[in-house]
């Protein structure tokens, strides 16, 4: 019996001690610790890719789509149930988190670049130029994200370290001080390699030249909208107008970017030059996206791997094209594929082009124009419950069909998407050389007249004396639907006047002739509401924008 007691005791002891503590350790095999990451150039590359991947925002929150809808050039459009289009266009807010995706994406991108900026010194680069280039891209992207936030929402919390802190909105001067500082850092850090010498597999990456364009865009917006002349940067230095002019002049002179001979060859419809009557008649020849387009300075890239990451969120394909494409309701046109019909074109824009400006038909499809070919005879009004239909559709970002299927399907062949919602992948251009020229002219470069003339002569228009008014007109027509017009209006303080004109526009709502007025609410200062959930989550620290 004694033995048994001992053994019982032994069992007890064994029960209590037999498992080592490491039994409860589990190794994470699919994620890397951020403590050790960012240790070499390859890892910084992946971190940068993740930051770039937040630039495209899906749904109605694509940055260009928001800007187009808010502007006086586009109406709401889409179907009668597309409240997203109508809310953005009409300065209403029927769902409290309408602008959450872009808010979220910008801050995701900001954290991702903050991590790079914070950690890059741990990375062992053999080549200092490469390190500076990567760091420069990170600064550039942070500038882009904050400029987006500042243009859409006005003042927003400014976070420059990888920390989860609940900050209040930053002062305008601090916000723009940071944006301009970031672009300046990007310019200083990135190499001055001419566009032609940049390896084509780096297409899509930011360059020094893009940063020079963006610093001008940010400076013009800040000084214009807020009526200031200089900016005090985050490091305490001052950025003056002449500094910015110097950047633009440098860009124009040394970047290797330029204008391509035919304005229209930038856009994918030019590719359909065997079927699309307009492209055939004008002998268009699309410049493509593989490096020949010297005019594109910074563009978002897409892929054939579009997919639904939730029932309503699409990733990796160009959603701007889908959302702003012609609403065909499944009807078949020879050249234009199905889109959702967001942002029908304001006829006032269509009418405002100078006679003989090829950018009119080069930017807008008039469904009644026989030169448009197939669509002009077959166009169906009120396809799938269309509203705000004007019969005018922008054609810079619209799905193009070739041989009955999506254009990229025709170009890339096997393996590309057959679903129209996923098959668009044209570059979404955020900065174009023509814009840099016009900004240079507007800033008052010594070469202002030359810059201005280059834009006009390219499209075969006679020269004009450069003036702010002339530049305003030129920007509207050259850069239509490229997400710039609305912020131009804000910085010129022209928005009230412009929207006052954009009233009683003839439209069809579900095939009924009607009128439409584009709404603007001055009490909002032109800014969108901060997503309501963020205001609530901030526990009173984040204050809702005026007018909302």
């Amino acid at each position: 019996m004694k033995n048994i007691r001992y053994i019982s005791l032994l069992i007890l002891v064994a029960l209590v001690t037999s498992c080592g503590e490491n039994f409860l350790e589990k190794k994470d095999l699919y994620e890397v610790s951020d403590e050790t990451y960012y240790s070499n150039p390859e890892e910084v590359q992946t971190a940068l890719a993740a930051a770039y991947s937040t630039l495209p925002t899906t749904g109605v929150n694509d940055a260009l789509l928001i800007a187009n809808l808010m502007s006086d050039d586009c109406l709401g459009g889409g179907g009668s149930g597309d409240t997203g289009f109508h809310d953005i266009d009409g300065f209403t807010n029927s769902s409290e988190d309408l602008y959450l995706p872009i808010w979220q994406n910008c801050y995701k991108g900001i954290l991702r670049v903050n991590m790079i900026i914070y950690r890059i010194d741990n990375a062992k680069y053999s080549n200092e130029t490469e390190k500076n280039r990567d760091l420069g891209e990170a600064y550039f992207l942070r500038g882009v994200f904050y400029l987006r936030l500042a243009q859409i929402f006005g003042n927003v919390p400014l976070i420059t370290l990888p920390d989860a802190v609940n900050y209040p909105k930053a002062e305008t001067s601090a916000l723009f001080g940071q944006i301009l500082f970031d672009f300046k850092k990007a310019i200083e850090l990135m190499p001055s390699t001419k566009y032609a010498d940049v390896s084509t597999d780096r297409l899509g990456h930011a360059t020094k030249w893009a940063a020079e364009g963006f610093i001008a865009r940010a400076f013009l917006f800040y000084t214009g909208k807020y009526n200031v002349s200089d900016a005090t940067l985050a490091d305490g230095t001052t950025l003056t107008k002449s500094d910015v002019i110097a950047y633009v002049d440098d860009c124009v002179a040394n970047s290797g970017h330029g204008l391509i001979p035919d304005f229209r060859n930038q856009w994918p419809y030019a590719y359909a030059n065997t079927t699309y009557k307009y492209a055939v008649d004008n002998k268009l020849n699309w410049v493509g996206e593989t490096g020949d387009n010297v005019e594109t300075m910074f563009a978002l890239k897409f892929s054939p791997y579009g997919g639904w990451n939730s029932p309503t969120v699409i990733t990796y394909s160009n959603q701007l094209t889908l959302y702003m494409g012609i609403r065909t309701g499944g009807k078949s046109y020879q050249d234009f594929g199905q889109g959702w019909g967001g942002g029908p074109v304001n006829p006032q824009l269509f009418e405002s082009f100078e006679a003989g400006d090829p950018r009119k038909a080069g930017s807008i499809t008039d469904v009644t124009d026989p030169n448009e070919g197939d669509i002009s005879t077959k166009y169906v009004w009120n396809a799938d419950n269309s509203v705000h239909e004007t019969g005018l559709w922008q054609k810079k970002y619209t799905p193009i069909l070739v041989n009955g299927s999506g254009m990229y399907n025709a170009i890339l062949g096997a393996g590309t998407q057959t679903n129209y919602q996923l098959w668009n992948m044209q570059d979404e251009v955020l900065l174009r050389f023509a814009d840099v020229l016009l900004m240079g002219a507007e800033l008052g470069s010594a070469k202002a007249q030359d810059y201005f003339d280059r834009v006009r002569t390219r499209v075969g228009l006679a020269t004009k004396t450069v003036s702010l008014d002339a530049i305003k007109d030129e920007r509207r027509h050259e850069l239509a639907f490229e997400g710039l017009r609305y912020y131009d209006l804000l910085r010129w303080h022209d928005e009230v006047a412009a929207f006052a004109k954009a009233t009683n526009i003839k439209v069809q709502n579900l095939a009924i002739e009607d009128t439409y007025s584009i709404t603007y609410r001055p009490e909002t200062n032109g800014f969108a509401p901060i997503p309501e959930s963020q205001v609530k989550l901030s526990d009173g620290i984040l204050v809702q924008n005026p007018g909302w």
């Binding site: 990451y37 991947s53 990456h205």
Partner: protein
Amino acid sequence: MNFIRSHLVLILLLVFQVAAFAQGRKISGTVTDAANESLPGVNVVVKGTTIGTITDIDGKYSIQVNNTAKELVFSFIGYAEQAVAIGSNTTIDVVLKEDVQQLNEVVAIGYGVQKKKLNTGSSVNVNGENIQKLNTSNPIDALKGVSAGVNITQSNGQPGSDAKVFIRGVGTIGDATPLYIVDGVSTSSITHLAPSDIESIDILKDAASAAIYGSRAANGVILVTTKSAKQNKRPTISYDFYNGWHSVAKKPELLNAQQYIEIMDECNKNYYESKGKTVREIKWDTQVPNYDKIVSGENTGTDWLSEMIDKDAYVQSHAVNITGGTKMSSYSMGFSRLDEVGVVGKGTNNEYKRTNIRLNSDHVLWENKGLNIVKVGETLSFTNSHNPTVRTGNIYWNDLHNVMVASPTLPMYAEDNSDLATPYHYATNWNSSEANPIALMIYNTKESTNSNNSILGSFYTEIQPISNLVYRSQFGINAWYGNSRSYVPVFTLAKETFTTKDKVSQSMSQGYNWTFTNTISYKYLLGKHEISGLVGNEAIRNAQSLSLSTSNEETIFGDYEHAYIDNAKTISSNTSISGRDDYGWAMLSYFGRLSYNYDEKYMFTAVLRADGSSKFSEGHKWGVFPSVSAGWVATNENFMKNQSVISFLKIRGSWGQNGNQNVEDYQYLSTLSYTDATYYFGTNKTIKTLGAYPARVPNYDITWETSEQTDLGFDANFFKSKLNISFDWYRKDTRDWLVEAPALASYGTDPAAINGGSVRNTGIEIVASWHQNINDFKYDFTASLSKNKNYVIDIANEEKIIHGEANVLSQGTSEMSRVEPNLPIGYFWGYKTAGILQNDVDVANYVNADGVPYFKDSRPGDVIFVDTNKDGKISDDDKVMIGDPNPDVIIGFQLNTSYKGAYLQVSANGMFGHQIAKSYRSFVDSPKQNYTTEVYNRWHGEGTSNKMPILTTTPTRNTINVSDIYIEDGDFMRISNITLGYDFKALFKQLPIGEARLYVSGKNLFTFTKYSGMDPEVGYGSSNKDYDWQSGIDLGLYPSARTYLIGLSITF
């Protein structure tokens, strides 16, 4: 593995220990029942000791007793315990009486069993026989209505689908499913078990009962014991067969072509009139084929639902079970096969097929004078199943929904489609993006197969070196493997619905968990004091879990038979490959239980369990979960002896804590993720640059979620146990929810999983049953009622809201389920309405306090939204709780009657006090979707409706705003089963069989409800795991079946 080795040594050591026993004399005898049939397997124990034996096949026993032994106690489940004085007898024959009180029943309490009358916790014990008698295809369905406090709702009616099970209310917005333990091995679901293999199911509801499972027991525990081997028993062979015919219990009435056109015309007319324009009629003749025949009434259009309903849906089950054994070795084995065809999905693989094989055995390796010193045994059950492949999910992934919303004006088959190589009709002009839903289902799901296998097995050794000291060591494995293959051909159905290349997919998965449990239990008797204790430890590890899947395009053969990955021409850029192994999750636990009772009058139990989990970081891994419970059997007191009304009364109470660790791994690590962050630099759009980014805000402090529960109750028998009543009151607070509470988006990454939220469930449960035998007529009736109130106490973030999913009822609608303090989990959030504006006067009066109209464009037929916050406008701030999907009351009834060989069983269950959100069409984005005939309840002129607004082509705020017009009460009472049978043994007593039952049965025959949808039992809430807490959303997904069946049950 060190762990196992160290224990093996101990086991071996024990095997070679010999115990010595005192000498005495031998007593033998026979035990029989009242009908003079011998009773094998009766426990014969010397009172006050654990020296005992059991009777053999002929009911005979012999036992060695020492001279101090005074009484022998005979006990057997279902019979009244009997004590007989030994005196100087050497032969003691006993006749046992059947016990209607059934208080000697034992119930599983976790790592052991206990007499029901001594149990101080709150649990439900369901006998396997009763489960099997209900002929459900899975054991969970059989628990409906028989287990008070357990809320079981089907997710959808598809055979083989899982039900939602909540014990005492929804306790968390994370994983609220109970812990399932099958023969000591944990598993995620028991749907795949065959009801015929189950001996009993014990549902541990209160914290004290569940506490021995400590962690993971926060949502209650469901213990399944498979049919165990029986010592000293002649082989018993049973064969059960049934064949049933399914039909759709309630079919929604969809509009036919004429009605559809009429309604679409009305929408069109209303739209033009609302704009003050002349109506432009829809030119139907150009829009839909065969319009002339529709006008003439010759063609009523396609009845899509009928096209989908499988009229040959049936269910067939065979089950064979064999049990038997000698004193030393016993066994129980079973084989069963179920074939069940779903009521919908005609023409596809809509069949659920399941094969179960089970082998359990016990062997006494070393027996010494009635004491089983070393005993070993195993349980092993294997399941192979094939699930149906019809798509069931949200509105975007559901074949049923597609069928319900398809226009009746789209014909099923094409008259001439030679150029499209499909017999199905192409989309019509009327809705050119509408693909034929039946064709879509067939192309996407018909050519596919899957095979799922699972093995649940355990091996145990039990060593009892001295009487009452039992060491038990069990190693169990839960393993699974499976594969699937599918093929989608080339087809064209609508402009945007086509494939240009055929596609083949194959996938496989496998994995296993193991559980190693060691316990020592000891029972000590001292006079009227009985103390028993148990200590143990348990290690659980998820040792492997891997899955691989791949798909490719353009197969060489172009058919399903040859559709294998190898048979594709090239590796296309759409090929997807994924594979990972999520092994390594581990848990280590130590636990103990101490029970004391004095003369079976006062009972006390304390349990303590400590669990460590790999899910949490150092310093936060361990959770300790204590519980105490006590009971008092008042009827054992002298002052209760002199009355005959109350034959048994036990008052009990318990308090305890349980845990939950169901959260994604590594929440405490600051890591990088690669998901959805790829970018495409360069000229080649197919070259990916992987992106890496900080995955989440880490939370180093994340730890166990805890539920704390207090339970008070009593069990009472009245009138010589004719009436039994059990009552429980409980309060269960679940704290420190493991949730990913929304955080500021400006943090730039996913929010941290936090311990942030708490909910309280309070309720009562009453079970009353009446048993009576009037000569040969026997009946018993049981009714159970449980009432639960659920409300959230706190959400630990600034916003205090957990948001639900958007686009649920229809694409384009905002979130409609929420979790918020002081309201029930998953309550419906939306606008309150106050009827419909009937006329221009109503419109003029629909103004705020300042006389300003709420909407400039209101017109008769519009919904009156209530300005609940009185701020003068209708906005999101006016949204309030418009419904609660959690039932307040759950009711169950069972009636069992028999007269000689004939018997009748009726079961019913019901739920009350909850609401259902319903829409069978995506009303915002798809105005052309078909309606059910409920559309005729619309407003179409003054006084025609005060709930459903005027119809229009375009979605307006009337429909887009989620409001209470979509909410209905879901109260229902359902007769779930009626069985009428006859046992031919009663007629032919000489037959060499134990039982020969032939029966007919009807399932889901009557449902009493005011709910207008197909089925008021709506478990669906979301097909996204993050929104598991949503429920009560009826999208018309998979209709439940009504079944008539005939069955045969023979026991030899």
